[in-house]
């Protein structure tokens, strides 16, 4: 593998495009120059820090350090999941459900992809685990979030219809059938769309990265196909787990609708 390493000068040259943006903003008094600067510095510091941390973790190549960073990633993803919900289940409930789903589905899918499919040695090599877990979590997060959002909104809007079914003797899953199906459809449709247009509309990020790093495009495509299978599978399973868990949280053991467990709407 061969690729052109970037020097600090190269980065400064790339930043020149942003400086042009800032100059235009100043010239027309758009008031965006400071925001541009802050966002650019923030991005650079974050990515440099991640690069530094990953360097350290890769150097250790110990199962303990790999597990630690994996746990941090899951927790951050769980936090992001809660932030995305407009109307939340009482926070510890959805926090628990979101994190449990991400940990279980994300963790298992990543382990499966790394240990069974890629099988590097040692199996816990963070060079494989960390990027794959990152992609799995990012994608699963989106579909889990969509599923929970659609489910809670649907439960609220269709409260009367759900309760009518419950009053007629339906179990909680029978009563939620319509809302549940819509939640899963909403969460899973984008996954199908992404698979259908992969490589046509734009090259997937990971494949682009591998090609830039000097990997043969055919090999890069194989990796991308593998990742697509894993990401879509994990996202779909995440949506199922979150939606079924959501129905259990929005009802109780007596099969009563428990919308009181939804927190207050955020301003």
């Amino acid at each position: 593998m061969s690729y052109v390493q970037l020097s600090a000068t190269d980065l400064a040259l790339a930043a020149f495009l942003l400086v042009v943006n800032g100059a235009i903003s100043l010239a027309f008094r758009l008031g965006l120059a400071v925001s541009f600067g802050v966002a650019a510095v923030r991005m650079a510091v974050q990515l440099a820090a991640v690069g530094f941390v990953l360097n350290f973790i890769f150097a250790q190549t110990s199962p303990l350090w790999t597990m630690l960073i994996a746990l941090v990633m899951v927790l951050v993803a769980g936090y992001e999941l809660v932030q995305r919900q407009e109307r939340r289940l009482r926070s510890w409930l959805i926090y628990g459900l979101g994190n449990a789903t991400l940990l279980l589905v994300g963790g298992l899918a990543t382990l499966y992809a790394v240990v069974v499919v890629v099988h590097p040695s040692p199996w816990y090599a963070p060079r494989y685990i960390v990027p794959i877990l990152g992609m799995v979590l990012g994608n699963t997060l989106t579909s889990v979030s969509l599923a929970l959002q659609t489910l809670t909104e649907g439960a609220e809007r269709e409260r009367a219809a759900i309760e009518a079914r419950i009053a007629l003797g339906a179990t909680r899953f029978e009563a939620f059938a319509t809302v549940l199906r819509r939640a899963l459809r909403t969460a899973i449709t984008p996954l199908l769309n992404v698979m259908s247009v992969a490589g046509i509309v734009s090259l997937p990020g990971m494949m682009t990265g591998q090609i830039l790093a000097g990997v043969d495009p055919g090999e890069a495509a194989k990796y991308q196909i593998m990742i697509m299978f894993v990401l879509t599978g994990a996202s779909g399973l995440g949506a199922f787990a979150a939606a079924f868990g959501g129905v259990l949280l929005l009802t109780d053991a007596r099969h009563r609708l428990r919308l009181d467990r939804l927190g207050a709407a955020r301003a």
Binding site: E158, I166, G169, D252, R254, H255
Partner: protein, 202 residues
């Protein structure tokens, strides 16, 4: 026999009363006095402390859905989850008979719910609550959206259910309807509750 024992509903003092087969118990009280909440608690749609027994079996002794197949709450504004009425009914031979009893034609079943009038939907809701033969009917303003003629048909259907041996608990703002149907009354007031027995006029 439906027996309610120390049932705590909202801010009300714990309630105890009974209703036997062939009986229609009217629940009376001003708006906001907890009539709907009481019916919902009896159907186990809302959590409430206390006991409700049907033929000696307490509601918690069976799963919630099984209880609600026996003890049926029918809302004043029935809700619908499908596009057409037919999706909401069990496939039963007597459906057509029940519909014609309240003056509805079976063709309504295949029209979109949204095209039906409020009164048609309310009568469909009553038929839906009765169609699978629950033991207890908790009727919340069953004729509030009906004209006099349709209300009379709905009352006949309710009366027939009482004759069949079902237990009916009725909430209605129509005091004449209560006189026609109920043979006992339960008054919900701030001071507490009182049950009085009177002979049905009919």
């Amino acid at each position: 026999m439906l027996r309610v024992d120390y049932l705590s509903v909202g801010g009300l003092a714990p309630l105890s009363f009974e209703a036997a087969a062939h009986e229609c118990l009217a629940i009376e009280g001003p708006s906001g006095s907890g009539k709907t909440r009481l019916l919902r608690a009896i159907a186990d749609l809302d959590a409430a402390a206390g006991y409700v027994y049907l033929e000696g079996v307490e509601r918690r002794e069976m799963p919630g859905p099984e209880w609600r197949r026996r003890v049926r709450y029918a809302s004043a504004e029935p809700a619908w989850w499908g596009a057409k009425a037919r999706e909401h009914f069990p496939a039963t031979a007597k459906l057509d008979r029940l519909l014609s009893a309240v003056g509805l034609e079976s063709v309504l079943l295949d029209r979109p719910i949204s095209e039906l009038s409020t009164g048609e939907r309310q009568r469909l809701g009553l038929v839906r609550a009765i169609a699978d033969d629950p033991r207890v009917l908790l009727l919340d303003e069953p004729t509030s959206a009906l004209d006099a003629q349709a209300a009379a048909l709905a009352e006949e259907l309710i009366k027939f259910q009482i004759l069949l041996g079902r237990i009916v608990i009725l909430v209605s703002h129509d005091s004449q309807q209560l006189t026609r149907l109920a043979n006992a009354r339960l008054q919900l007031t701030d001071a507490g509750t009182a049950r009085s027995r009177e002979s049905a006029a009919a």
